[in-house]
Point group: C2
Chain length 326, copies 2
């Protein structure tokens, strides 16, 4: 029987090809030595807008009809999906509105507005986000694009693993972070077709482990704590995402906040690349030997590089006034 | 007339090929827009040991005779040359001794020792470094490898520009940082042969501008301040280096400490890569429009990525105890 979800990934690849970067893969000899595995990193921190989220947003907008496009798109997000949707919309000449909580970092608002989206601020809670968004949808008939609970978004995210597998060949494991589950579901769909023997593992902060508990119990847990530095993963697992994950994911593992920071620093230090804490969540289980595997070929998606660097630079260079590039 | 310096670069390429990474080049759309140029970055922050210094050290050791190799090599350095020589020596099964000032960051000592070199501490001044080194040379007959004032080292450093030009084609300008002048001299030799019309520009912190003053006056200035965050460039221009630079370099430009920090942050933020302050010195003249050029193809060597991240992480994550990767 045809797998329609996989068909959507194939279509997504065609749709996003003119817009998205085909990001490179990277390796790290010292991590390979430390873990006794061969790890292949997919460099989505180099993706347009700074994260893999561009894939899902771009696919969703590219799939809209001409009539739908005239209505514009809308989402609520304080993170990478906001910037991704704003940029994808601009590249398709579609109007975008993004509802952002008023306590989100100014840099996120500026980046989203910088990509041409209309930014609407709301009170910093999920209910307010949903309410303000619904009101604008009613007034403008803009099309809502979920950050994760959407088949087109899931299909778009599934393209990252497809490229990685094309580039590096067979893999025994594929590790990705899980928040709302868009990337995990998309990766699982792709892997189930291209590498049916590979084990796809979702990686989650222990402080926000709703996906882990949902996976273990078989029942979707809706509450989620936001007490993690992995700001991209403070999202409840989506309904569509959970259905895919239940049947196609091998396991979900949890990592501590210390491990997230340690893995992030390891990657900055050894690989000389800037990844955000949410990306480090999928590196930590390897670095801290949570999986008990050796001699394996492992794919890891480094999901994004949008770190607010101001506090880092402020702390270290407070004696030097900073002159910003124009 | 044959140019023996260029012949040495050609030989260096062959010698280091089995050991060094052929690093990729990178581009940055936002910097291209901001400067109205096309900039091609050579990714030496991804080179073995974390900087281009590996090229010169590797070439020098590879050129030693079997008899010379039995004597071992020695240098004094508190920076990237220490690690580069240690690793290059290990890969050639040659003993290495590195004299390091006792106030150098512990991480540098550990990294150098980690590559298998014998680390000897000395008082933190140039006279002590030279004296301790001379004593060991006398006792062991180890071969001294300068970090910059050496034709083999210069030739090795010249291979980076050769690869960049092979990869990206014609360039109007090539920008590199200048400290002791190994990279600048090597780049100038390479460019004078492969791109005779290109202008090679040395970039220097205004706070340690001995190369600038030497270039302007035509007389090598020996004093240098160490009052710059670009720790790789706190070195006096070498004798051999100055001879090459006088005749083959188009200009030397200076940047402020603020501009170095701003350029470093720009690269971390936009390119998602970790470069050290010395690398940012060659980005700053572009970002801050010091050159007054537009519509040009510009090569920039991103020389290294060895930043001490402890203060950055300490400041931002002081609430989380850090668990380091094994």
């Amino acid at each position: 029987m045809a797998d329609l979800l996989w068909e959507e990934v194939i279509l997504a690849r065609e749709r996003i090809a003119p817009f998205a970067h085909r990001t490179p893969f990277l390796t790290c000899a010292s991590l390979d030595r430390a873990t006794a595995n061969n790890v292949f990193f997919k460099g989505e921190f180099l993706q347009k807008s700074g994260s893999f989220k561009f894939r899902g947003a771009c696919n969703t907008i590219a799939a809209l009809t001409a009539t739908e496009r005239t209505r514009g798109v809308i989402t609520h997000s304080s993170g990478n999906h906001a910037q991704a949707l704003a940029l994808a919309a601009r590249l398709h000449h579609v109007r975008a509105t993004v509802v952002i909580p008023e306590d989100a970092p100014e840099i996120k608002r500026l980046a989203t507005a910088g990509y041409g989206a209309k930014v609407v601020l709301c009170k910093p809670n999920l209910a307010a986000r949903a309410k303000v968004t619904a009101q604008i949808v009613k007034e403008t008939s803009a099309i809502f694009v979920s950050s994760h609970d959407d088949n087109q978004v899931i299909a778009g995210q599934g393209t990252a693993a497809a490229e990685l597998i094309e580039d590096v060949g067979d893999l025994d494991y594929v590790l990705v972070p899980v928040g709302g589950g868009g990337l995990l579901a998309g990766t699982a769909i792709t892997a189930s077709h291209l590498l049916p023997k590979a084990r796809v593992i979702g990686c989650e902060p222990a402080e926000a482990d709703d996906a882990y508990r949902s996976f273990r119990s078989g029942k979707r847990v809706e509450e989620v704590s936001t007490n993690t530095i992995a700001d991209g993963l403070r999202t409840t697992l989506g309904v569509r995402n959970f259905e895919v994950i239940k049947s196609r994911v091998f396991d979900i593992v949890r990592v501590s906040e210390e491990e997230i920071i340690g893995a992030m620093r390891y990657v900055w230090e050894r690989m000389k690349i800037v990844i955000e804490p949410s990306s480090a969540v999928a590196v930590a289980p390897l670095l801290y030997h949570h999986l008990g595997i050796e001699g394996r070929r492992i794919g890891v998606i480094l999901t994004g590089g949008n770190v607010e660097l101001e506090p880092f630079f402020q702390a270290v260079f407070s004696n030097n006034r900073r002159k910003r590039g124009r």
